[in-house]
Subunit: 429 residues, 3 copies
């Protein structure tokens, strides 16, 4: 694959890289980022090119494509990707771009097909991407094998599907092994999406992530969520109280007894898994704290599972309770526009209207998402001012934001292709 360099007409993107590298080299890692990181269109282009097109991204759930020919589509910036289940139950991903004149192949968000047929001139591809048919006459020297769909790296574990647009994706199997392990009680082959929401936040994707990575704002913003959630981020949160640690110890003993994983696991700053208790007596993120679905997930022995929190930078966080799970996917749409997709999962055999009411299930996170959207949008508007300058994160309340911002800074910095300035190299020795 040798696509045209996208910056062929943008002579100054190289200058942008150098300017961005310098800002990263000079920033205080406990302060928020300089303004251009949140609103500049060239910096956004770099975010897409060097982060979203090189990192493993959460795309969707494997339960959404249960059978051969099922597919879903995901748009990563201007790149349309098809994730499809092919022969032998294999999940594959391709660029949704016909090799003839470039039309998108799949127009719908999800569906089921026998082959992948281009709507324009009906070039037809096998589910594994091979070109099978290219009109009746492309000439004698036309080599069908050279025109298969361009593959996209895809990996699946614990019911999660990740894609990576890089040609040489970095390893992620350490995390995936753990993911598989933590999710095994949930029997992710027997799960379904009960209901889904898609909202657009007029804020840079990093503001959406920063907002998620702290609960400093929860007290002022999230009454519905605080019916169930305890603000402490995980079991080594520096603010946690003795009472909280007692609750945690008690719950962890219960979870150990029923062989449900709960230990805090980290993979750099990129991934984290940990099960933490909800408020004592509360079993689910619903308005009344009672289960949102009467049928528990997988082999879960009882509803009182707290929340298994799964973080995957740059684009996902998740809550798995006993009765249902909520998965979140973040996709940048522009420098100040981000799509947030939320899916509520229940046992495949749970019956809508009997075991669960989708309106009730979504209530807490619909409210919370909307509150977070407003916070992120006001954050964006303030940052757009010339008066904005990076401000200090609280090390006790916002360590999760610090971790995210530094993961981002290191990841982008490593991919900029710009040497550190000599002066700073010396300084850091």
């Amino acid at each position: 694959m040798s696509p045209l360099p996208r910056d062929s007409l943008e002579g100054s993107l190289a200058e942008t890289r150098a300017a961005v590298a310098e800002m990263l080299d000079q920033r205080d890692p406990t302060f928020s980022l300089p303004q251009p990181f949140y609103n500049d269109s060239r910096l956004f282009a770099l975010d897409m090119e060097e982060v979203f097109e090189k990192q493993w991204l959460f795309a969707g759930m494997s339960c959404e494509i249960p059978a051969k020919g099922n597919f879903f589509k995901i748009e990563i910036g201007s790149n349309s990707i098809i994730v499809v289940r092919g022969a032998e139950n294999r999940i594959q991903a391709f660029h949704n771009v016909c090799r003839h004149r470039g039309s998108r192949l799949c127009l719908k968000d999800k569906g089921k097909v026998a082959k992948l047929v281009c709507p324009y001139h009906q070039w037809t591809y096998e589910l594994d991407g091979r070109l099978l048919f290219a009109g009746s006459d492309m000439g004698a020297d036309f080599d069908m094998s050279a025109y298969g769909l361009k593959p996209v790296a895809v990996k699946s574990a614990g019911g999660f599907v990740f894609v990576n647009l890089s040609e040489d994706p970095e390893p992620i199997d350490d995390f995936l092994v753990s993911l598989e392990h933590y999710l095994s009680p949930y029997d992710m082959d027997n799960v379904k999406v009960a209901v889904e929401s898609n909202i657009v936040e007029r804020a840079n994707w990093k503001l959406v992530l920063e907002n998620n990575r702290e609960c400093y704002h929860c007290n002022g913003a999230h009454p519905e969520l605080l019916n169930s959630l305890i603000e402490f981020d995980d079991t080594d949160d520096p603010r946690s109280t003795g009472e909280y640690r007692d609750l945690v110890a008690r719950k962890q003993a219960d979870w150990t007894a029923c062989e449900v994983p709960w230990q805090l696991a980290r993979f750099g700053k990129r991934n984290r898994l940990t099960r933490t208790p909800l408020i004592d007596g509360i079993v689910s993120m619903t308005m009344d704290g009672k289960p949102g679905c009467n049928k528990l997930m997988g082999h879960i022995p009882n509803a009182d599972m707290g929340s298994l929190r799964i973080l995957h930078l740059p684009n996902s966080w998740n809550h798995f309770m006993g009765d249902h799970a909520v998965v979140f996917r973040v996709l940048p749409l522009g420098p100040q526009e981000t799509l947030v997709t939320t899916k509520w999962l229940v046992h495949k055999d749970a019956v809508e209207g009997v075991d669960y009411d989708p309106e009730r299930l979504r209530q807490v996170w619909d409210a919370t998402n909307d509150q977070d959207r407003r916070l992120a949008e006001e954050n964006q508007l303030g940052i757009n001012s010339r008066a904005y300058q990076p401000g200090p994160y609280s090390k006790t309340y916002e360590f999760g934001v610090i971790d995210f911002v530094n993961w981002y800074s290191e990841t982008l910095r490593a991919n900029l292709g710009v040497e550190a300035s000599p002066q700073l190299q010396v300084a850091s020795q």
Copy 2:
């Protein structure tokens, strides 16, 4: 006329020219264009400056401005143009820009005026562009003759009106002489627009043209159109069958007998005229193949005229049947946005509701336009992906696309003001 160079604040447009020249010099002429040609905003600026502001463009029909003072307006990029019939039946065109402070003069799409009066301070221009009145006091040394409307080159033949924004338009009379000849049976002074449609396609203008220049997609996309149209592009289409050639021979004999021109005529790749049969027994592009208008056009002896197809690059294609004609005009609005105007013409004396039903007349091409819009929009979305790379045109199905793309490439290349790179000059010797 010495307008400010529009790139006075765009230092890097020169770099863009060089990059575009190199892409053109290196492309395979049987493959689709590199991505920036379809979505880059600077390349779009070049398309406007070097193609749409230098080529003869189809603007409208002379029957739309039948009498002195009738005008229509056309927007070519950000340039608003008035086409007006002046004294002695002369069609003239002007920039729709007041010489006082620059207001547009004509706000409506069409109309009739005695003089051209600016809505701002009522500066008043003769229909030939001369400034007649400039308020009551512009000072003693104000030279009225220096402030006439800026003229735009205009030519008319066979009922078609073409404009050219260049100060030194290239010759087009060869084509116009033929156009006049082919249209003479239609008596274009006695024609009217029965109905008109304007749709915006979210696709680059070249994708709209490419879509029109092949019928490879017709089978999969255009059931209504294929009620009447035969897919073969013209009489030397390499795919044509013996049966088709027999039909053609028979029809050509009929047309010769009634002195209606049908011969294939080409003017480079820019213009083509040819009359080709519709499906045997079908006389018009209507749902049932029967005439859309009971009164035939001009001196047309019978309805069975096939379709006189007229191509004018970069912005028009047309079908003239016995009972009615359909004319198409393409105007770029942005890198990924194009206006397509369709007009259905009938004999001036045909009576709406008696001789023709506008809803019935427009049915086939309304459906076809909408189908083509969707194809072009999906083509655009796929091309926007980093995975897009130029793909091969079929020489038997897409020779018309190859011709268009190469006409475009040669036209733009010649106007870029960049020398070919030495290496390539040698290579082509």
Copy 3:
């Protein structure tokens, strides 16, 4: 305050400055501006940076924030500003940007607060900008005094509030002393906003101002306004007639008798104050010329006050009659988009529905604003054409436009940070 330079990622803004300086040095001061001044996005960035962020701008009326804790918000480009009445009746202004992570603090357009509390994490600021509370744990070395709100220069006189985003604002007290004097009969502490309108004009802000600075277009455009307004701009308008001068002399004698200021006062081209008569027998800018409010303003002795016209470049003009006043504020939104806010003021004790009908009060200027919007929008569309070139202003009809455009040109030129070219320096000696 040392915000990140906003052009850190725009290497070519320096080139733009040089190009703009050259265009300004070479323009004819009696002609309209070259095209980029009206539609180029980089030039718009310069307008914001060098004019709107450095000049005193009309923000609102002091009567809108009558008591401690009352605030209003104003958005100057991407800069959100709070104007708030603090302790001891003092009006203060701050950047509406939290020093923590940059959220906007005040989300509403106006309101009343005890403290300024950030909606995100509840950092709390005193009305004088001091940070009072920053969560429960920002660390031992956190210096609260370093994180107060960033102040914005603010001045108030005659009921008008002006803000200036520069750190070193230029003096304006000469004008403010006069403003206070001319407004004293209006007792601006006892005034209220009866009704307000906000319209967006799709035109560059300078076209909105140019439109306001002449009445050359009034005859063709403003029937409602011409029920009351005399077209002559002020008492030294070169077009004024003997009859007009008689009327003026008579009215000025009346105004002198009741000690109401009327003399023409100018502060460079930036400010002008002058009271001029309305049409004889007409006392207010209403459809029938009768008072719009039965209760006169302040200590005004009778309704027949003509109109006190107050100009403040770059963003305000105003009419103060005996019964009511109309104040106008212009804020650029983009290169071709401008917000125009109109407020109708009456005596604080006037009772809606009894003393005045808001619908009647706003009628003339609602109609006039809409007419001017259309003129400015058509002006913009014509100027966008490559055929546009600067046109001549009439020295007798458009001296006000010439003054505005030259004030703008000199103001921008002085702030560009580019030396005049040597050749031109010689030429001007």
